[in-house]
């Protein structure tokens, strides 16, 4: 069993998918409006299982990523429980994301290139924070979870794939674990959407941005390609242009279509990262 858990493929796919499925399921039973918190909780659980619980205060960027994510999850749960919505929720998310990014980036801010990277990451963070309304208000129910969850899945896949190609396996593992955890949530909401997204869900998208930050600032991976994945955040807008199915099969197809459309930019980004390494996928 322990050997199985040490398999990198299991650690970054099956394990987080199962953990995500279980945690979303537990929250579904206990407190349904907080079900989306299961994504970030699943990510943190897999991080602790695979990498170990980081020291506090954390000496490294990966440790900071963990504790910043934990703080974000707590913020999301508290805000969703208190019913914080709209601009106030976006502002909370923006403050948490900006503070976390700067905390992680500070030791790497030693050049103009690093400063430009941080500005771009902050811009992406603000998009995640303030672009949330259009992502979640696309359905008749007012807060469809599929589009934002598909965006998260796509961004996490893009970060994971780019990290894997760029020889940063632990970041790749954690990003793919986040993607798998989002996959667990999506399965719960397919074919029928059962949950809201809320700040707890959007915090998980913020974690994908933080992972991109660590990858950009502390590795030599070709992270410029991640800009190509950003259109995945438009999944909520694109949903309006996709045929809305009726009945169980129609809704299932519609939800699947949104996910596929969201993931396409991520595949483009991964393809670009692969091309930039002259097609050398396995470094050694």
């Amino acid at each position: 069993m322990s050997e199985l858990l040490q398999d990198p493929f299991v650690q970054s796919s099956i394990l987080p998918l199962l953990v995500g499925l279980v945690l979303v399921g537990v929250l579904h039973l206990l407190r349904r409006p907080l079900a989306a918190a299961g994504i970030a909780a699943g990510f943190l659980a897999v991080f602790a299982l695979v990498v170990g619980l980081p020291a506090l205060p954390p000496p490294s960027s990966m440790g900071k990523l963990f504790w910043a994510s934990a703080a974000g999850l707590l913020l999301g749960i508290v805000a969703d429980t208190a019913g914080v919505r709209g601009r106030a929720a976006s502002a909370l998310l923006a403050v948490w994301l900006a503070a976390s990014l700067l905390w992680i980036a500070l030791p790497a801010l030693d050049s103009l290139a690093a400063a430009v990277s941080v500005v771009l990451l902050l811009a992406a963070a603000m998009w995640v924070a303030f672009g949330r309304g259009s992502q979640t208000q696309g359905s008749e129910r007012g807060e469809s979870p599929t589009a934002p969850a598909a965006s998260l899945l796509a961004l996490a896949l893009a970060v994971g794939g780019t990290a894997l190609i760029g020889s940063s396996a632990s970041i790749a593992q954690m990003a793919l674990a986040l993607a798998a955890s989002a996959g667990g949530f999506l399965l719960w909401n397919w074919p029928v959407e059962r949950h809201g997204w809320g700040l707890s869900g959007q915090v998980a998208t913020g974690i994908a941005v933080l992972l991109a930050g660590v990858l950009t600032l502390f590795t030599q991976a070709q992270t410029a390609v991640l800009l190509l994945a950003l259109p995945a955040l438009l999944a909520g807008h694109l949903r309006r242009f996709l045929p809305q199915g009726h009945g169980l099969v129609g809704r299932a197809a519609s939800t699947a279509a949104v996910t596929v459309v969201a993931v396409l930019p991520a595949l483009v980004a991964i393809g670009a990262a692969y091309a930039l390494t002259d097609g050398e996928a396995s470094p050694y």
């Binding site: 490294s60 600032l217 030599q220 470094p283 050694y284």
Partner: protein
């Protein structure tokens, strides 16, 4: 009168260092990077042992030949200089998976105690700081030789050290235990009187 003259002569001889070696002082040396190597061996999934080294190493040695226990060693290693003869692997080793060189560009060793175990051997105790974590380590050290080097014509001292550290204790957990946790260290140092 004779006694007074003898005492004065003894004082002068002592003050000028003519009476030795009982009064030999510790001598400061700088590590000579051209003749210093910090290498490591790590098991790769049970198939082989990968050998690597750090190409940029510096530091100071204060060597007291007559009281080795009083000697001190300080070493600083540039983690970006890791070299396993494979560019892609070295890039990975510099990433947060391993040495996290962007965030932790230096790895340091500071001796805390030296125990003499033989004529030319000893145990070098010290604090190794890697990835922001400081842990005590013990190295088996051999004092090779000191004197004027025929090559550089400078006062030189040479040491060898061997030891093992567990990388996971420093938070370097990626790939362990498939990629070995025990890291064998092979250190060869030449230090030149500063």
């Amino acid at each position: 009168m004779k006694k007074t003259l003898f005492a004065a002569a003894l004082f002068v001889a002592t003050a000028t260092g003519a009476v030795s070696p009982a009064f030999a002082a510790p001598v400061s040396y700088k590590i000579d990077p051209a003749h210093t190597a910090v290498a490591f061996i790590v098991n790769h999934v049970g198939f082989s042992n990968v050998i690597g080294r750090f190409n940029t190493v510096g530091g100071d040695v204060v060597f007291d030949k007559d009281a080795v226990e009083k000697s001190t060693v300080t070493v600083s290693i540039d983690t970006t200089s890791v070299d396993t003869n494979h560019a892609k692997r070295d890039e990975h080793l510099r990433s947060p998976d391993f040495f996290n060189a962007k965030e932790f560009p230096k790895m340091t060793f500071k001796s805390t105690k030296i125990e003499k175990t033989g004529e030319k051997t000893g145990k070098l105790h010290g604090d190794l700081t890697m990835l922001g974590v400081t842990k005590p380590v013990v190295l088996d050290v051999t004092f090779n030789k000191d004197g004027v080097s025929p090559a550089s014509k400078m006062e030189t001292a040479g040491f060898s050290a061997r030891g093992t550290v567990k990388r996971t204790e420093f938070g370097m957990k990626y790939g362990a235990p498939a990629i070995g946790d025990d890291i064998q260290l092979l250190i060869e140092v030449e230090a030149v009187k500063s």
